[in-house]
Symmetry: C2
Amino acid sequence: MKKVSISDIARKAGVSVSTVSFVMNDKAVKMRISREVIEKVENVAREMGYRPNQLARGLRTGKTKTIGLIVENISNAFFATLAKSIEDEAKRYDYKVVYCSTDNDEEKARDLINMLSQRQVDGYIITPTLNLAEDLRKLQAESKPVVLIDRYFPAHTEIPAVLVDNYEGVSRGMEYLLGKGYSRIALVTIETEMAHMKDRVRAYRDALDRHRLEVQDRFIRIVPYNSDHEAALQEVTQLLSGAGVVFDAVFFLTNYLGVLGIEVIKKLQIKVPEQLAVLCFDDNDIFRLYTPSISVIRQPIEAIGQKAVSTLMDRLRHVGEDSVPANAPVQLQADLVKRESI
Amino acid sequence: MKKVSISDIARKAGVSVSTVSFVMNDKAVKMRISREVIEKVENVAREMGYRPNQLARGLRTGKTKTIGLIVENISNAFFATLAKSIEDEAKRYDYKVVYCSTDNDEEKARDLINMLSQRQVDGYIITPTLNLAEDLRKLQAESKPVVLIDRYFPAHTEIPAVLVDNYEGVSRGMEYLLGKGYSRIALVTIETEMAHMKDRVRAYRDALDRHRLEVQDRFIRIVPYNSDHEAALQEVTQLLSGAGVVFDAVFFLTNYLGVLGIEVIKKLQIKVPEQLAVLCFDDNDIFRLYTPSISVIRQPIEAIGQKAVSTLMDRLRHVGEDSVPANAPVQLQADLVKRESI
DNA sequence: GGTGAGGGCTAAAACGATTTAGTCGGCTTT
DNA sequence: AAAGCCGACTAAATCGTTTTAGCCCTCACC
């Protein structure tokens, strides 16, 4: 049983391929095909189980109705949820999404863009790595719209971005901790030059400044980027051995670091929140279910996904019109979810 | 800046498109293209930043080097990990995977198969829904190989499947519980006719039989398939209110049910393992980090992914040769991971 | 000097659709 | 009755590749 093509239908229905094409694309009326022929063709197509070949269609029209989604790691809960929301939203526009993970590897990211470009996706939604801006500019120059998510390039406002308001989110968290009387607040972050993380750290420092508290380097732990699970655990363990004596609260700046933190807290048997108040940026099932449950700054993941898709669709609609307007990244507000850990 | 095609290169290098094609596909030597022409073409291609259009290539060759992966829900940790392992493994064969979630909706599954078929994927790896066998047979009849994962159709051995040995895994878990002296063991499962779950339940019953223990219906909770989070919580809550008095151990038959169980255990403040021993089929980060940590029967996810891909590649290699040999599903052994909950 | 055998390349068909520019016969219109 | 128009279709080009069949040249050989 072979695939049936438009010309198989044409032959069987005794009409030309053009006619079949018009009927299949609802252009029959515009092309003044008669009622009877339309029905004839539709019937034959149904009988034969015709399904248009999207490769051929894409080749001819130059549009594949597909968007490429590149995230850091699809098996991370945050990105998985984001991906799902993007997929669902895209479907509402009748677009399909194909996703890939960079594992935060610059070279891999470039390869993926390449691969997606070869497969002729119409546009991209990307969690960029540090030095990707130039490649993304090239994409845009080829009339392939790009929307960044989760991260952005402050120096490249011609690439639209949708993300949480990191500065505001961390500020809110800090005010909450400070308001509860904690003044010796440790910070666990990840080593990166990317702006979104810098914003989070800046918010931490500014909050302490506002309250006339000194920023102490020994309170800050920067986990190196490529450290494996063991090494990262080690880092956090070192910091947290000072819990309760050197500092009285800890703020984890990412989901992943928070989970790591829990693992260490469990191992060191630190009492939360008596010895140590805990707050984490970004939610996770574990935080909700852990005892004590962990308070978090929650990103509006669904909203980010939806806004990213609608922004991309917008660009897709105006593709070809040259002047791409520069605009500041869209920054959505985070929620503070209060639980038992503080 | 427009895309550059093979004929742009041909023009610039002063040769024919065929020649360029041969060079780009390493067929230059076989086609006796001279050293100089090869170099010339390669240089021009590099300079112009040529990337083959995979749509055109796929249209011509009938192969897209793409495999379609359909899982139940990509944002579930089990499937996310499985998907990642399949993607990584596929890359080793130089294949790309595009994934989709059925949300366990039969109709959606059919739509997805349709969509992937229109996009001309070369083969499929699928977590099937109950009545999908017929559709899958049709795919195979179109020479599109299919490999099932996680689930299988006992009545259709012509569709290869790769999954954990469910019966053996649950048996092992039951022997462990029984060996520790627990005899009143509750079971939480999900309502489904699918064979893999039936195998798990059968293993539970057989184990009790072997130990001359009566299977009691009030010990078994079947969560309806389409219940939302609240309703499911309700079900489990009802069962677990008997914990410690009516029964002394509980075996959750899926990842998702186990997480639900933890939520209820936390709410009801059940002491684990003093009041209730807990075991779950299938691991999850939460089980490792929860206090007390939860013992599990762990599926060899990586191995399942790898075996599924290699099985598919095998079929792909022999596509066209009619007689598809029937063979029993490949069933991989699960591990018992002992933690604090029993 | 005609024949055959490579060597080095190209022409053109094909994949399955979309889309532009007709064709053709009958009916109005003047 | 010639010209134009309209309704209902179709022919053929096109998208970017791959691949088969061949073309033309040079050289060896008898």
